[in-house]
Symmetry: C2
Subunit: 374 residues, 2 copies
Amino acid sequence: MPTLGILGGSEIAKMLAQAAAKWHIKTVIFAPEADLPAQQVTPHYVVGDYHDETLVREFAAQCDVITLDNDTVDVETLRQLEALGKSVYPKPETIASVQDKLTQKRTLQAANLAVPRFLPVQMATDVMQAIEAFGFPVMLKARRGSHDGSGNMLIHRSADLPTALEKLQHHDLMAEEFISFVRELAVVVARGGNGDIRLYPVLEILQQDYTCHIVLCPAGIEETTALKALEMAQHAVESINGIGVFGVELFELENGDLLINEICPYPPNAGYLTIEGIITSQFENHIRAVMGLPLGDVDQIAPATAMVNMLAQRHSIPHADILKDVLAIGGAHIHWYGKPQAQPGRKMGHITVLGYTADGAEKVGRLALSKIQL
Amino acid sequence: MPTLGILGGSEIAKMLAQAAAKWHIKTVIFAPEADLPAQQVTPHYVVGDYHDETLVREFAAQCDVITLDNDTVDVETLRQLEALGKSVYPKPETIASVQDKLTQKRTLQAANLAVPRFLPVQMATDVMQAIEAFGFPVMLKARRGSHDGSGNMLIHRSADLPTALEKLQHHDLMAEEFISFVRELAVVVARGGNGDIRLYPVLEILQQDYTCHIVLCPAGIEETTALKALEMAQHAVESINGIGVFGVELFELENGDLLINEICPYPPNAGYLTIEGIITSQFENHIRAVMGLPLGDVDQIAPATAMVNMLAQRHSIPHADILKDVLAIGGAHIHWYGKPQAQPGRKMGHITVLGYTADGAEKVGRLALSKIQL
């Protein structure tokens, strides 16, 4: 069986490595730091900079197929790994077309997929032009390397602009119309190298301070909206020739229209609930897709699943005793990633609950969360 | 969070380490060989003989709590680990009362639990006495270190005795009446240090050549039989003051009576199906029990679950391509342990299927199995 290399050491890499281990697929983790979550679940890892060519070769020498758990890896590193004869999935071209949010939006637009209106930003006057075109508020976004709203600044009035530009000064920028959505949705899409595709049930995402806090499966939406979301998600992943598992985030508008907000080119946070909630988890299907194995079914295990994220409240790692408290809640599946550092809003773990309704499952998850001090 | 040491490197240790990693509990594997299944899922391991005192100390220095995945570890090694200040679960006394099958049967009998009639065997005449007492056939059993019928010889007539005694000549022996059972059942029992207990649904075991081939959950038995099995299993684990997860194997007789065949003092093979079939797997509950965490619910995820074992047919490891074939079957959860050697009848992996009926789930599992060449 070929060996799988993973660029990144996050909980996503950890869950990928655990899925691979189920079939005795060996994984090698290459991450910039030691003691990351994924380094606890495999004896094979390389620690250091992705720009260190010796390390890249050392890593490549141990792997046959290579994937990633983030979209910040330099496409050059991916191309270098391909040049060393390795299979890299998603393909470097896919990552290139996704990791720059402006390119991503242009790609989606070219594929006739509905996205919020956007404009490239080179200088302050470009933002003024966006404000003129879209009206206030306008979303100013770093084009690369930002997540969970960290690289986004909402411009409510002209006076907000200097602070926003200063805060984002080290980034390439784009401006986007602000979407007043009814719901935020996500579709997890698994796609194999042969074009075979699996669309997971539409997820509903509840944010707290711009961070995903709760995910419900299935989303509480009309059947027609769900079908439209699935169709758009499939089309979006095909438009970037995605191989692996992708998260397609959508906004549902008041009139039922959908806009694609963003594509995540690796198994997304929202899809962690697929571990217990779906017959084939997104991590298992990612392994299947990148290793050239047949994709698995994506039926729900229970009528509904809810996931409640454990977001840190402080800069210190919560005490291990919280595990005792949260494990005492019946029917909750607890995941604790083992991140070496905490900061307010950082996702340290999650709670998944299966139930007959998403509401009921969410209540059990919230109850479990209320028992602990993060 | 304390670190968990595991004596043994089998797929049981692997599944325990994977359950522990879900909560970022660090595991250290101590096994006699390298390249065992568990050594693929943690970077922390010690390889060597359990009688090597330096290694035992090296292992102990890395752990706070210690458990095991087999019942062949010398009780002296366990006591040594306790003397080094480590918490060892199940307790050495529990292992001592279980690993010698004669002591085990006597312990169960002393607790007023029904077991097959048995006699200790020191010499050939003791077997003759057993034959006189129980009638033919009589089961001659090695008292220690045998599994899946490997240390058992069935004596159909006096002429079978010399061969049987020769084959088992290096073992302490016992004789047992042969039980012509209707069904073989198993109950997985989780018990915490505080006496808290969880009884998993009664499992039905289908053997093939004395090896567990298929497990069905729940067993196709009367409600009263199930309740009796659960009660006996609880009583059995309490009688040995078991802390951790145990498998209690029972014979169901024609008249509905139950006899306890054997206690497995670690998460048993039959219970692998709890990973997908039960809300808290036996591996998760074992970790909870030995780490002093609250036990989890043991409700079924679906009305029925079936597990079909992948038993090797040859002495060579089946080709990795079988994974492609078996993963193409919808709705089946595939586990491949990564054992370094194969031999006919050896369990290399298993297939778990959830369904509305045990029959239906079993059919899907058998179909998946029929697709591969082991």
